[in-house]
């Protein structure tokens, strides 16, 4: 890898970190002034604009794919803002239109196969909102509502994978480049850390479970570990990030996917949650990129959800206990990260695009010599 390339990638990583720290400072300031709907809208626009500006600054030679991702993300931002406000109908209409329009645009530029694929996958992100449409409002408010919704999102992913003949290994359903125990350990430790941190950040109202505690536990485990984590990770990491990394450098693809993942959490009307989801997206994206497997991201996502909900279901839990959980999970994350670093592919910073370029160069040289 050339020095310039390495410097550029380091600058990109630095830029991503600066963006997160900058937002955190901005949020601290705005929370002092009081968070309102205007803060949410201005935060969201700033969030998307600054992140893209950073990417453009360091990757001007990839303007066309970046432009496509900017358009998709802007539409997603618009849709989420409409849905979380008083104009939910227009939000759904935007989602429905985008779901049809982006694959159409992909068909129009079918010669550029990789970019066309990005557009097709982008349409799927909007399917997670269109999936709400058939359900009556009261159905979504019963316990089977959410599993049914995720069943539809999963169905959409399954249809896409089947029709487009997407390779399951490429999607992340494989052991991957890092030993499985290391992936599991990383997913579990960061998952517990993320769940407890999210609880402290959001401080949701407590939910006291009634009925059989065993039923409650099994329900949460199946719901969070399989029904929620699988479709979201297949969609965001396996399909979206993977497709973007074919046309953009991996760290930009991770950043852009995380922006979209963060925007999908705008319904909380809490910029801290958006920022948290963005940061978790960066971590899960990085794990997926390096391991080429969905094991760690799915575990991290699922365990984070289970921990967060379990804490919320305990009434009057002392903050000290949650902080102790954060400290212990952070401590267990250290050896996990050490092992991860140890088993990570040697070519730490090189992108799949660069590897492809090198491979093509070798093929050309071989062709010349023969």
């Amino acid at each position: 890898m050339s020095r310039l390339e390495r410097a550029r990638q380091l600058a990109g990583a630095f830029a991503a970190a600066t963006v997160v720290v900058g937002y955190a400072g901005w949020l601290a300031l705005s929370s002092l002034l009081g968070l309102g709907p205007r803060t949410l809208v201005s935060f969201s626009i700033l969030f998307v604009t600054v992140t893209f500006a950073m990417s453009l600054l360091f990757r001007l030679d990839r303007r066309r794919p970046l432009l496509v991702v900017v358009v998709v993300t802007s539409v997603l931002l618009l849709q989420e803002l409409l849905l979380s406000g008083e104009y939910a109908f227009y939000g759904f209409l935007t989602a429905l239109t985008a779901m049809v329009a982006f694959p159409l645009a992909g068909g129009l530029i079918h010669r550029d196969k990789q970019l066309s694929y990005v557009l097709q996958v982008s349409g799927l992100v909007f399917a997670s909102r269109v999936a709400y449409v058939p359900f009556p409002g009261r159905f979504l408010n019963i316990s089977i509502g959410l599993p049914s919704l995720y069943l539809l999102i999963f169905l959409m992913c399954l249809l896409f994978i089947s029709v487009k003949k997407v390779d399951l290994k490429g999607l992340g359903f494989q052991k991957g480049m890092i030993p499985l125990p290391v992936q599991v350990l990383t997913g579990l430790s960061i998952g517990v850390l993320s769940g407890s941190t999210e609880y402290i950040l959001l401080k949701p109202p407590p939910i006291s479970p009634v009925g059989d505690p065993l039923h409650f536990t099994i329900y949460i485990l199946f719901m969070m570990m399989i029904l929620v984590s699988f479709p979201e990770e297949i969609l965001f990491r396996g399909l979206l990030q993977k497709s973007m990394s074919q046309v953009l450098p991996p760290w930009v693809a991770i950043q852009m996917t995380s922006v979209q993942f963060g925007l999908m959490h705008l319904g909380w009307r809490n910029p801290i949650e958006v920022l948290f989801a963005f940061s978790m997206g960066l971590i899960m994206g990085f794990l997926f990129w390096k391991s080429e497997s969905l094991v760690a991201p799915i575990l991290l996502h699922g365990v984070g959800n289970v921990v967060m909900f379990s804490l919320a279901s305990v009434t009057n839990i002392p903050d000290g206990l949650v902080y102790a959980l954060i400290a212990s999970s952070a401590a267990s994350t250290v050896p996990a990260l050490y092992l991860l670093r140890k088993h990570m592919p040697i070519d730490y910073w090189s992108s799949s695009m660069e590897i492809r370029r090198r491979r093509e160069k070798v093929i050309r040289l071989l062709e010349k010599s023969t």
Partner: protein, 118 residues
């Protein structure tokens, strides 16, 4: 191999769905989605506008579904030569059309259930 993988994945997902159905979590778990930041947006804002928007958008979804099906039929290559662009769009819209048909049947199912008083 790929088909088997997809079958296993579907089996796992269907089994999990059945488990959550059979368990019938307590009623207050309906608040689940308002607690978890990691779940999708809509459930956190299930207000009056949201519910009425769901009903209104069903018509547009049905129209989009019919439009896509008509396009898929007209662009069928067995009718004769089809432009490359049309074939590409057809391939891209195929999973969406299938998804919309599934949603359409669900809409109809829920309507029938509400008429029958379920």
């Amino acid at each position: 191999m790929r088909r088997r993988g997809l079958a296993y994945l579907s089996l796992l997902f269907s089994a999990s769905y059945l488990v959550t159905m059979v368990l019938h979590a307590p009623e207050n778990l309906a608040g689940l989605s308002t607690v978890l930041g990691t779940t999708v947006l809509g459930t956190t804002v299930l207000g009056v506008q949201f519910i009425s928007a769901l009903t209104s958008i069903q018509l547009y979804l049905s129209l989009a579904c019919i439009g896509l099906l008509v396009f898929l039929e007209l662009s069928d290559p067995t009718y004769g030569a089809t432009a490359n662009v049309a074939v590409a769009i057809r391939e891209n819209w195929l999973p969406i059309a299938a998804f919309f048909v599934a949603l359409f049947f669900l809409i109809v199912g829920f309507k029938i259930a509400s008429i029958l008083g379920f």
